[in-house]
Assembly symmetry: C2
Homo-oligomer: 210 residues x 2
């Protein structure tokens, strides 16, 4: 079950969703639902499945902006999906809840489960913020090498191991780091040759300190 309803009973959850005028939707793989987001401040919460937000710029570059799984939230305010460039892709059958953000702020229920909901939402938003920060840390590095090393550093810190298991394939990793895939492969090769890392499939071993 999603973090958003942590410590809220099934009964209270239903009441809450009714008050917030929230809608639950299920989408099949490759289905599109961008139109649901045309209105202003909608927040989506992924209950199950996998949804990606991909940016296609006019030059044909594809950038993975968000890779959403259970418990993740998304929306205009949370990710930038306001314009035509952004594509919402349902990677596998997914269930989401849509809530108007204004309803959350203007809602005046004096119930403890509402406060709990707010705490949960804050936690999720904070987590999202941290994710964005991580990516910003990477993208503020100027060279391909430093972007890769920063990524590995973050992953190592996060999982407390010098073995980094890539959560996506190399193509998507290059998109995430905003670098050319072949240039990334090239740099990874140099890093291997210089003994900084070892690669075995999607597992990268970090062989240096600091």
């Amino acid at each position: 079950m999603s973090e958003i309803f942590r410590n809220i009973s099934e009964k209270d959850k239903c009441k809450l969703l009714k008050t917030l005028e929230a809608n639950t939707h299920t989408f099949r793989k490759n289905e599109s639902f961008f139109q649901l987001f045309k209105n202003d401040k909608m927040i989506g919460i992924v209950l199950s499945g996998n949804i990606q937000i991909i940016k296609n710029d006019y030059e044909g570059n594809e950038i993975l902006m968000e890779d959403l799984e259970e418990g993740d939230i998304f929306g205009n305010t949370i990710s930038s999906i306001q314009n035509v460039e952004h594509n919402i892709v349902v990677k596998e059958e997914s269930t989401i809840i849509l809530i108007d953000y204004n309803h959350i702020l203007n809602c005046n229920i004096e119930k403890d489960y509402y406060l709990t909901f707010m705490k949960n939402l804050l936690e999720i938003v904070m987590h999202k913020l941290q994710e964005k920060n991580e990516r910003l840390e990477i993208l503020t590095k100027k060279t391909i090498r430093n972007k890769i090393l920063e990524y590995l550093k973050i992953m190592r810190t996060k999982h407390g191991s010098r073995f980094v298991y890539l959560p996506f394939n190399f193509k998507d990793l290059a998109d995430y780091l905003v670098i050319d895939r072949s240039a990334m492969t090239r740099e990874l090769k140099y890093l291997k040759e210089e003994g900084f890392i070892a690669i075995k499939g999607k597992r990268i071993e970090i062989l240096y300190d600091i």
Copy 2:
């Protein structure tokens, strides 16, 4: 007065700060207070002044990560200021409030002002998220030209005018866009020559559509 206490009376505000064990600090220009952040999940709220978070990497690059003014929040979770690379610089005399994030989550006051506080905090965090997204939108562009154009596009949307007034100098703008300053000047010159923009001091006029 900061957004964080919107709709909260002075009296309730004092009670709240006491319950959350919040501390108010004032710092003079160029003073440093990084040590206050050594502990884990602290949230800082800027009540007045101007504070910048600057990243210095080992290659000597200086990147402006945050430019904080009244109402802004900062902290480990909000910005990445966990490691030695990050420098907190007080640009002008500033007053801040420091709160342990765990106190916010574990606090169990059943008062309406606490819910109001949570709503305000959520609003601020959401706003921060939007700022991060804007920067990510820029940094996911691959060329200097597209980064500049994306920046101008965002500023135009934000202020609803084709006249963009830079909130910082060109050096800091280059840092924000994570590009070399002279290379940025060069590209701006080309954009001027090609009739896309006109520059007069810190005012850039956008001369194209879309």
